[in-house]
């Protein structure tokens, strides 16, 4: 399988993961290790910046994951930029998952503020991975201002509803010159495989692993599904046909 490149890093695994909703720090660590994920996102608001011995962080650093701090909780560009700078200082990484959701229920991203913040953050030297609606025009605009990827949603965060935005995601993938990571709503390994078969560069999964009865096994299931989907994409899926092929071709007279 092709190696995935984002900014200055390469990834063997195309499964990105999150740290929320796990029943314990130990379980989170075990599941993330089993997933073989190489990029893990965590909410800045959950990390204890005052004390150096933060629980979540300790596990992630020990297991040598690449850290992707996110700005979950901020409601506008100004707050996001401030949070990003704190994250860079505290975690010593300029990678950032930019999340701006003023709506605390469905956590739907604010495209207008995201674009504004992305522009500033790129100028300030951040590697920006923005969480956005599956909006092809917005994704092109983000690419134009220099984000490292786009992260369109499949369905609302935590909904486990799968790729309800598949038609738009297909257009985003077709048009994008930067990696497309399908984030949010992926509730089953089959959803992840579907996104990868469509040509997404990676997927980000959290709730479906964390909330499962057996997060470690579910992490492995997602790992395999992402690999299967990617291999199928690279091997080129056979086209679908609704009709049987005619046994006497219409163009036989041309040969």
């Amino acid at each position: 399988m092709e190696v995935l490149k984002i900014a200055d890093k390469t990834f063997n695994s195309r499964l990105f993961t999150g740290t929320g909703k796990f029943a314990s720090g130990e379980l989170m660590r075990d599941a993330l290790i089993a997933s073989e994920s190489e990029l893990v996102t965590m909410a800045l608001r959950r990390i204890d910046l005052k004390q150096q011995k933060d629980n979540i962080l300790q596990y992630l650093i020990e297991a040598k994951f690449n850290l992707l701090p996110n700005t979950s909780g901020v409601r506008n560009a100004k707050e996001a930029i401030f949070a990003a700078e704190l994250a860079r200082e505290a975690l010593e990484t300029n990678w950032l998952k930019l999340e701006i959701h003023p709506d605390p229920r469905y956590l739907l991203p604010d495209g207008e503020e995201t674009l504004k913040a992305a522009k500033e953050l790129v100028k300030k030297g951040f590697i920006v991975l923005p969480y956005v609606q599956a909006d092809p025009v917005l994704c092109k605009k983000l690419e134009d201002v220099g984000t490292a990827t786009v992260m369109p949603l499949g369905s609302p965060i935590g909904s486990n509803n799968g790729l309800n935005t598949r038609d738009m995601i297909r257009i985003i993938i077709e048009q994008s010159n930067i990696p497309v990571i399908v984030d949010a709503g992926i509730g089953a390994p089959s959803h992840a495989a579907e996104a990868m078969e469509m040509g997404a560069d990676a997927v980000l999964v959290n709730t479906a692993i964390a909330v499962s009865q057996n997060p470690v096994d579910m992490a492995i299931a997602f790992k395999l599904a992402v690999q299967a989907g990617r291999m199928a994409f690279e091997a080129k899926l056979a086209g679908k046909s609704t009709e049987a092929k005619a046994s006497s071709p219409l163009t036989s007279f041309l040969s």
Binding site: A43, F82, D103
Partner: protein
């Protein structure tokens, strides 16, 4: 305004409607995902009581999906027990001949340091209503002292003015808990005899100020023990529905204070049993996947241990309801608002949560994010 909406309802009619819900209304409410306020009414009705196990199952599933297996911990800090109101059910009642105290800024610091040692990052500041002794200016200074030690500051104090909320948000205010106590306008005045709190409409208007100030979270609740909990909870849900549509940037939380022994001699008018409270919590969760649900130390250890997996998202621990109670636990116990029921330490509560297969979350915010 919510006041206009609530004016279109009649208390007695609403009560009758709830009590006339049938088995088939409940079954309909159990089946559908996007539940209406009418479904909520069925779920809190007596007709839903036989379905409590099914409701618990659904509530658990929805909560785990939305919040994971986590319980957030917070601690109340009582800053002052001075109060100008005469609320018949409250220990801080201005007529009660009890010792009064407002913490000095030095004492606040002492308390916060003691609280920090217990592990807490989320703090809830509580006062009686005394604008001069413990108003917005006092709170602002308190925030400045507390901010270096805590990640999330909430208040449960008298209603403030809209511009005071905006100012406090700039200084770190995240959540405001404000309980209407009862939505029965006629009976409201029989519980709130004197002081600013005796004005039903003004209190209700405060929620609009909070929404306009874009406070991060608003906590709603009634005091169970005053009026029929079913009718009062219906109006709370109606209020929640109204607020979340109008003030869509704000999160919401529901609490369920039940009357506890306190100074004074008010006896509850209506009893909410453990089973009723469970039914109500499940109904809220099925009505609103996102609303946060808090269960305080007013409830017993056994009850809290069992409910933590069934819909609750946050819990207080090691609460002392007397100003100064953390740094000097032995002093001033006669100042307390009510006696807590679950008196385990924060560490014991955190261990209990973990032993139930849940993560005890101390920190889920940062003052720097606002």
């Amino acid at each position: 305004m919510f006041i206009e909406l609530i004016n279109t309802y009649d208390w007695q009619n609403t009560t009758d409607l709830i009590y006339s819900k049938t088995d088939s209304d409940v079954q309909t409410a159990l089946q559908f995902k996007n539940r209406s306020i009418d479904d909520f009414m069925a779920l809190i009705s007596p007709a839903a009581e036989p379905y409590i196990e099914e409701m618990a199952r659904q509530s658990q599933m929805i909560t785990q999906k939305r919040f994971g297996k986590t319980i957030q911990l917070y601690v109340p800090l009582y800053l002052s027990n001075f109060c100008e109101n005469n609320c018949v059910y409250c220990g801080f009642n201005t007529e009660n001949k009890i010792k009064r105290k407002v913490l000095s800024y030095d004492e606040i610091k002492e308390e916060v340091i003691a609280i920090r040692k217990l592990g807490f990052e989320h703090i809830l500041l509580v006062t009686g209503e005394a604008d001069v002794k413990a108003g917005a200016t006092y709170l602002k200074k308190a925030f400045e002292i507390i901010k270096p030690y805590m990640s999330l500051i909430s208040i449960e104090v008298q209603p403030l003015k809209a511009d005071e909320y905006s100012e406090l948000i700039k200084h770190g205010l995240n959540t405001v808990y404000l309980y209407q106590e009862t939505y029965n306008r006629e009976r409201y005045s029989t519980y709130h005899l004197k002081g600013n709190k005796s004005n039903f409409e003004n209190r209700l208007m405060t929620y609009e100020h909070l929404g306009n100030a874009q406070v991060h979270k608003i906590g709603l609740g009634i005091l169970a023990g005053l009026e029929d909990w079913r009718t009062d909870s219906f109006f709370t849900a109606l209020h929640l529905n109204y607020l979340k549509k109008k003030y869509w940037r704000t999160k919401y939380s529901i609490s369920f204070p039940r009357l506890r022994p306190h100074s004074g001699n008010f006896e509850p008018n209506s009893i909410m049993t453990d089973k009723h409270l469970a039914q109500l919590i499940f109904a809220y969760r099925m009505f609103d996947e996102n609303v946060e649900i808090a269960l305080s130390t007013r409830e017993s250890a056994v009850y809290r241990d069992n409910m933590l997996k069934l819909g609750v998202t946050s819990m207080s621990a090691e609460s002392r309801t007397n100003p100064g109670g953390y740094a000097n636990p032995e002093l001033n116990t006669e100042l307390e608002q009510f006696s807590v029921n679950d008196d385990r330490t924060a560490a014991e509560i955190a261990n209990m949560i973990r032993s139930n297969g849940y993560e005890a979350v101390w920190k889920d915010w940062d003052c720097i994010l606002q």
